[in-house]
Symmetry: C2
Subunit: 540 residues, 2 copies
């Protein structure tokens, strides 16, 4: 059963059809509506009028009503969306498999202690489970920390693994932009001791290959280096205990203008104004070898070991990515900082540049900043910008945090923000008016006239035994034309029909849905006939 | 990178290799060890000596130690296990697709109120999230209730959907039997108004097809009917308000002997002793049409409407499953009750009969009962029995519980207990000594002599562009023989080699790993050459 996708699929969908039935207006948006009830298992629910598009439920709690919805920041995935998602996953997996990666899976929750102290200021966004007696657990916040725990616990020396799973953040959701509280991450990581910058270049290559294969238009892969940032901070006069807080401030440059970030550095984090101004000169730099050349000869950085080491690594990265033919979209950008505490080397982030047919309003940092200032939080809900779709970097000390003897395993990886990629794909499909088949039935077995149920079931059993995907109506005596219409509406390529005379003669009618051409085939030859016919019809 | 699977893979694995490195002993069993720490985010951890195979972690909390493990009742999946699992999923999906099913996905948690009042006595096993301000949430306990919520919320009239996802139960885990607190369910459900028993027979067919295709040996699909049970209860003199509690007692017959179930009915649930004895006569019945014939003419049931209606439905089910050629393993069994409250009609459960090469000690209900009595809880931890691998039934009122106007949608479905199927598959692989490839690299690009990094990277880029899965070492100058050995150990079918002279002449050496045969190919013809060669080598 497939769903017609017209101009209104996706999150803004008004009406679509699943298995021939309609989904109510706004039902998909229900979860973006702020919660109006404070529920508690002990006290009873407060009654509240249902909003349009929300459904009331007869609660078990003294007849008061509960709004029927998914939790805030989460959504159901409908069949056409699942189909889009499977296709996106398949393309990403193709790339991961190119790089010899193997798959692992970890539990959705971890001991709370495993997550503690890994995420800096973002730790407040972690979902905790209730203490119901036993261990204290939290839902995973990303796939990187569980991976490091996995490597340490299993004493793994090297592995290239991928992991596709949902993670949980009690963040402010922006559903239309693909920002959820429950969302998929698609991670590729290389753990192990290898030669400098080879795994790092491979991660950049993976980003390049995934985004190219998804055909999302132009993108830029911004690259920076934590040691270069630290070198700059040191050279500008930042005390070393303030490196991480100042790095957090720089991280906000993708959302806030420099004036605001400078204010945070000076007013909140106690930096001297002239130190902040010196940092301001560096974070506006970007480029490729030209930028590195400028930094190499920079007076302040000349004798800074961290900075010089990072510059050498970045030069090597440029060289390798050029050999791997994935440097076209690469841009060294000194304003890239990335929020998480655990990065120790190269960091990167991929951003879609293209305005997706006028819908993605991410028209560069300047206009974005202004918009943000004018509209505040509303921009997230109203705007269509998607922004960063992948990010990652090197984290050489994280595995060691889990090891009693501090034995560590150097790691580098990349995480794709899959929900955002889905959102873009769904928009593309909507704009192109593509019809998506959510089921993959090859044959509909239909009966002409009454009393055909038994031959229909027997035919289905026969076809299933040969691995042919065959359905038949679950009604005793469905209408003949209704059955044919079902095949046409759902894109089922072949109809096999039986009536009383066919049963008597031991034949069936094979009808090609697209051409409406019919052939009579002896029942004993049906499987062989279909095995020849179907591959020609199911190409695309 | 693949993992050698010898006699010790799976849950009892002692030592295996991921990407050439070893996993420590017991690491996979760590999560079955009872927690020895009472962790709390507020109070500090108590120190505890690490057990063998567990790793200590330098805690963030005043230097005390935390045992490095996954939460109780959960596990990590390693690459060879993921490969097995993908194969099991693929076979199950093939069957679901035969029946025209579409896929949906719902959030991992629901508003707590959605789950309330659906699971009877098992509700105490639900995982609650901490109230961190906002909605009160619980992790899903199964996929059926979220599906009913989905159908009601989206006002869907009919759908055949599947959903593969993990569910959460704070149950007593028995890891060696494949019973976890976090485990996959694989659900197929048909919602909508159709003709009697057609969707029900299709669900039995799905069970039959899945278990046959997984090649697990003999199985039995036990079938019963809630209305038949209710009819028997009524006819034996059970007051109607005790139908559900008495049904819960009957449900325990798969684990406890009749004497114990009878005691529960009489002592705990206040049934008259002679009423219980009359029930005892019925619940030992099983068979096919013969059993139905006996019940039809049974004096007590003759005028019982519920029972007679159920008998008619079961006769129809036998007829349809015979037409669908999936009745060979079907057994009507009056002792089958199924615990959940929401069933309203046909119920079923599939049990593996075969002793899996002497490891699955499920040697029938009688001996199991005795074992249970003798060994108590320990049987779960020590025994290898797998038991029920699929179950389900008809639940016509569940969607209505979510609808303000009580509009309901009749549903019937089946859920596969995937972890148990994995456990069996892993045992089979271990017993057969099969080597599993966890990665799917086609080509290893190797260098002969020093300074070959650049040509190697360029060759990888070239092959990737044509969609050929090619890897190369992440070392500058890896040893030549070590690279060849890597290809042999990991089953990479083709090695492409370059040395200085090959670079100068514009050629490469193509070596077939299995035959060790080498051919020299001009670099410009490499892609075409491999596109012809690889399909012949990658057949199994």
């Amino acid at each position: 059963m497939d769903c017609k996708i017209d101009g209104k699929l996706s999150l803004l969908l008004q009406k679509t059809s699943i298995d021939g039935h309609s989904i109510s207006e706004n039902s998909r948006n229900a979860s973006s509506i702020p919660p109006t009830l404070s529920l508690s298992p002990k006290k009873c629910l407060k009654a509240s009028p249902a909003r349009p598009g929300q459904k009331s439920i007869g609660s078990n709690c003294k007849g008061t009503k509960l709004i029927l919805k998914t939790p805030k920041g989460t959504r159901d995935y409908h069949p056409p969306e699942m189909t889009v998602r499977r296709k996106v996953f398949d393309k990403i997996l193709d790339v991961f498999h190119m790089h010899g990666a193997v798959e692992i899976e970890t539990p959705v929750f971890e001991l709370k202690e495993v997550l503690t102290g890994k995420y800096g200021e973002d730790s407040k966004l972690i979902y905790d489970l209730e203490d119901q007696g036993g261990e204290i657990l939290s839902l995973r916040y990303d796939l990187t920390v569980p991976f490091a725990r996995y490597v340490a616990q299993n004493r793994i020396g090297n592995i290239s693994r991928y992991h596709i799973a949902r993670v949980y953040r009690r963040d402010n959701p922006a559903m239309t932009k693909g920002r959820y509280r429950e969302f998929y991450q698609c991670d590729f990581d290389i753990a192990g001791s290898y030669d400098q910058m080879l795994p790092d270049a491979e991660c950049v290559q993976v980003i390049h290959q995934v985004l190219s294969s998804l055909d999302l238009g132009d993108f830029v892969i911004k690259v920076n280096h934590r040691k270069l940032l630290d070198g700059v901070f040191g050279a500008c006069g930042v005390p070393s205990d303030k490196f991480r807080p100042i790095c957090s401030a720089v991280d906000k440059l993708d959302k806030s203008p420099w004036s605001e970030v400078r204010r945070e550095m000076v007013d909140e984090k106690g930096l001297e104004a002239d130190v902040a101004d010196r940092i301001g000169e560096y974070v506006k730099l970007n480029g490729k070898q030209d930028m590195l050349d400028a930094l190499k000869s920079d007076e302040r950085l000349k004798n800074n070991e961290d900075a010089q080491a990072a510059i050498k690594e970045l030069e090597l990265l440029l060289h390798y990515t050029s050999l791997l033919e994935c440097d076209a979209s690469l841009l060294l950008d000194m304003s890239l900082a990335r929020g998480l505490d655990y990065y120790t080397g190269v960091i990167y982030e991929a951003i879609l540049k293209e305005n997706q047919n006028g819908e993605d309003a991410d028209s560069g940092p300047t206009s974005k900043k202004i918009k943000k200032k004018q509209e505040g939080e509303e921009e997230d809900e109203e705007g269509g910008a998607v922004g960063s779709v992948a990010g990652g970097g090197r984290y050489d000390n994280l595995v060691g945090m889990f090891d009693a003897k501090k034995r560590t395993v150097p790691c580098v990886g990349v995480s794709f923000g899959i929900e955002r990629l889905f959102t873009i794909q769904e928009r593309k499909i909507r704009q192109q008016g593509i019809k998506i088949r959510s089921s993959c039935t090859s044959v509909l077995v239909v009966g002409a006239g009454k009393g055909m149920l038994e031959p229909r079931l027997a035919l289905c059993a026969l076809l299933h035994k040969s691995g042919i995907r065959a359905e038949t109506s679950r009604k005793m005596n469905p209408k003949f034309l209704g059955q044919l219409q079902h095949a046409e509406e759902h894109g089922i390529p072949v109809v096999v029909g039986v009536g009383e005379s066919e049963v008597q003669e031991g034949v069936v009618n094979v009808r090609c849905t697209a051409t409406r051409q019919e052939t009579q085939v002896p029942r004993v030859q049906l499987v062989a006939h279909l095995q020849q016919l179907l591959p020609t019809l199911e190409k695309l």
